[in-house]
């Protein structure tokens, strides 16, 4: 049982590798992909309860003592994210069986998704900064394959840009690792936390902190580093877009949260202030983008940017309330963004278009889709009984506690923009005069809707039954705000 932490990384990796051998057998590919994601989900739920009852779980690979070997650490934040990404991968794979098209499925789609899940889970779990880089590359490489798979013109063009941006970001990551190694002489995050705490506040450490913010900011899509995101996410087919939108930027957010709560806590007045300013700017620029477009994909893509800003505001406010809220909101946002993208997929299946002006009057023919979409939008905006509310209210409360008054007002106001931008899709596509649309076969429609409704039930349930989940998030906030839990779990008595 001690190796439980490793399993969410190993299981998708192994199953993905096996699937490489059966390229032409579509049934094996589909079943293997879905079973792989489901198995990972089950393991991560077991791990979640284990972390909740027994505290932070640590595995030192090869039994080398902590600062010398690589340690994998599952604290509450990481295991919550591992669980939600496995869940989302499972639902999206189920959806892609119907929505992706056989041509793409035959070219290693399922192995690529499983490899991506493996890399994402690894990035959430690792306790070593260079190992984090390697896991970043694992899921990025899989995402390059997924974004280019199919080889349409737009995909080729955008994947070229996406790859170049990420190559530069990866190089910056290695440079930053080189700097931090020369300052601290270690790569283990817990050890770094101790060593940098001993050195105290020093100019070069703040510089490295900002370099990490740039590196992870490119992945997370914060202002002014989100320039690649709207174009790149527009290119891939919708199941892939749902995976990217729900998972990839969140790894960047997680990494910022990790290094800014564990490692760089000595000069908070400087580093976290910059993070705060960037978070606010991200919210504002994301809002402008979300309001500017009449294209359904673009609207939701810019909503990713807004959510990134809101979550990072929580981590920048840097008190237990705000950090707990940010964790809650992070998981909520993963679920709801995946849900919205899948719903957009159904909408595109029905209308064959992405421009809102060419749609209208769908509510009479597709009431289930219409009303569930409306509820999903309310959840996204954070209307009280639904899932976005608890997280955002804690983030704002934490922001006010930290004395960030006008910043908290911006966060609260962004809710209006989110609601307006997403409800426009509802008003244009579902109300109004009927515009011509293709009628997909009843069977195809219900096949698309089944995973959507499952995810919808989960997202709504996450809001309605939040009090059962709150203890987990309170624990996550407590662990994040006190790095000694993490450090003691990894370094044990040596410290």
């Amino acid at each position: 049982m001690i190796n439980l932490v490793v399993l969410p990384i190993i299981v998708p990796l192994l199953i993905g590798t096996v699937l490489l051998l059966f390229r032409n057998n579509l049934t094996v590919q589909r079943i293997g992909g879905i079973v792989g994601a489901l198995l990972t989900l089950v393991i991560s739920v077991v791990l979640l309860t284990k972390v909740y009852t027994d505290g932070i779980q640590v595995v030192t690979l090869g039994s080398w003592d902590a600062p010398f070997g690589i340690s994998l650490v599952s604290d509450m934040l990481s295991v919550l994210l591992v669980t939600s990404s496995s869940l989302i991968t499972f639902v999206v794979l189920w959806y892609s069986v119907y929505a992706l098209g056989e041509e793409r499925e035959r070219f290693f789609f399922y192995p690529a998704v499983l490899f991506m899940l493996s890399g994402i889970n690894g990035a959430f779990t690792t306790g070593d900064i260079f190992n984090l880089f390697v896991f970043f590359e694992v899921f990025l490489m899989a995402s390059y394959v997924l974004i280019a798979l199919g080889g349409k013109r737009i995909q080729l063009r955008e994947s070229m840009k996406y790859i170049i941006v990420n190559i530069v970001a990866a190089a910056l990551f290695v440079i930053t690792i080189g700097y931090i190694y020369s300052v601290a002489g270690t790569l283990n995050m817990a050890d770094l936390s101790v060593k940098l705490g001993e050195i105290g506040s020093m100019g070069v450490i703040s510089t490295i902190a900002i370099m990490f913010l740039v590196v992870f900011g490119i992945k997370a899509g914060i202002f002014p580093l989100y320039f690649w995101l709207p174009g790149a996410y527009y290119a891939p087919p919708l199941p892939v877009l749902a995976l990217f939108g729900a998972l990839l930027t969140k790894v960047g957010i997680y990494s910022i949260a990790r290094v800014y709560t564990l490692i760089f806590t000595t000069d908070v007045a400087f580093t976290h202030d910059i993070l705060m300013m960037l978070a606010i700017a991200t919210i504002i620029f994301g809002s402008i983008g979300a309001l500017a477009y009449m294209d359904i994909k673009k609207i939701i893509i810019y909503n990713i940017v807004i959510a990134v800003g809101v979550i990072l505001f929580g981590f920048a406010a840097f008190n237990t309330t705000a950090v707990t809220g940010a964790t809650l909101y992070l998981v909520h946002d993963m679920l709801v963004k995946a849900l919205l993208f899948l719903m957009i997929g159904v909408l595109i299946l029905i209308t064959g278009k992405t421009n809102l002006r060419e749609m209208g009057g769908l509510i009479r023919h597709y009431p289930t889709l219409g009303w569930t979409y409306l509820v999903a939008v309310f959840a996204l905006a954070g209307i009280p009984p639904l899932s976005g509310f608890a997280g955002k209210i804690l983030i704002i409360q934490g922001g006010l506690e930290g004395g960030f008054v006008w910043q908290s007002i911006v966060v609260a106001a962004s809710t209006m923009v989110v609601l307006l931008s997403a409800i426009r899709i509802f008003i244009y596509a579902f109300w109004g005069s009927e515009k011509p649309f293709q009628v997909p076969p009843k069977k195809t429609y219900s096949q698309y809707m089944a995973p959507v409704l499952v995810l919808f039930a989960l997202a709504v349930g996450y809001g309605l039954f939040i009090e059962f989940l709150t203890p987990y998030f309170l624990e996550a906030g407590r662990q994040l705000m006190d790095p000694s839990f993490y450090v003691n779990a990894v370094l044990g008595g040596n410290n």
Partner: protein, 115 residues
């Protein structure tokens, strides 16, 4: 020696930046190659250039003589990753050239088909 290496790495970074900002796709990929060379050199330098013996256990070699083995392992990992990514980028650039018929990044604009 470290200063010398820092200057070389800095020169590589500036050349890489210049190339990545150019229009031709191939020049951009050459730029990323230079960029990863620069980062690997920097990683080696930041580990410290002390130690005149390779990190292999041998007779009559004391701990002070060894070069730091950790940056070398990191670089080896980073080289392989950069190699894989570069190979993918090159093939993708080739496919892009075949499909779109240009290697000029300025010409890769416009709305594509919806999928």
């Amino acid at each position: 020696m470290e200063i010398m290496m820092a200057i070389i790495a800095g020169f590589l970074f500036s050349a890489a930046t210049y190339l990545i900002l150019s229009k031709s796709l191939l020049r951009i990929i050459i730029g990323t190659g230079l960029l990863s060379h620069g980062t690997h050199l920097l990683l080696l330098t930041m580990g410290g250039l002390g130690g005149n013996k390779p990190p292999v256990v041998g007779e009559g070699v004391t701990v002070a003589d060894y070069a730091d083995p950790l940056p070398q392992a990191l670089i080896l990992t980073a080289i392989v990753i950069a190699f894989g990514v570069t190979a993918f980028a090159l093939v993708l650039a080739y496919r892009t050239y075949q499909e779109i018929g240009t290697d000029n990044m300025d010409h890769m604009k416009g709305r594509g088909e919806i999928d």
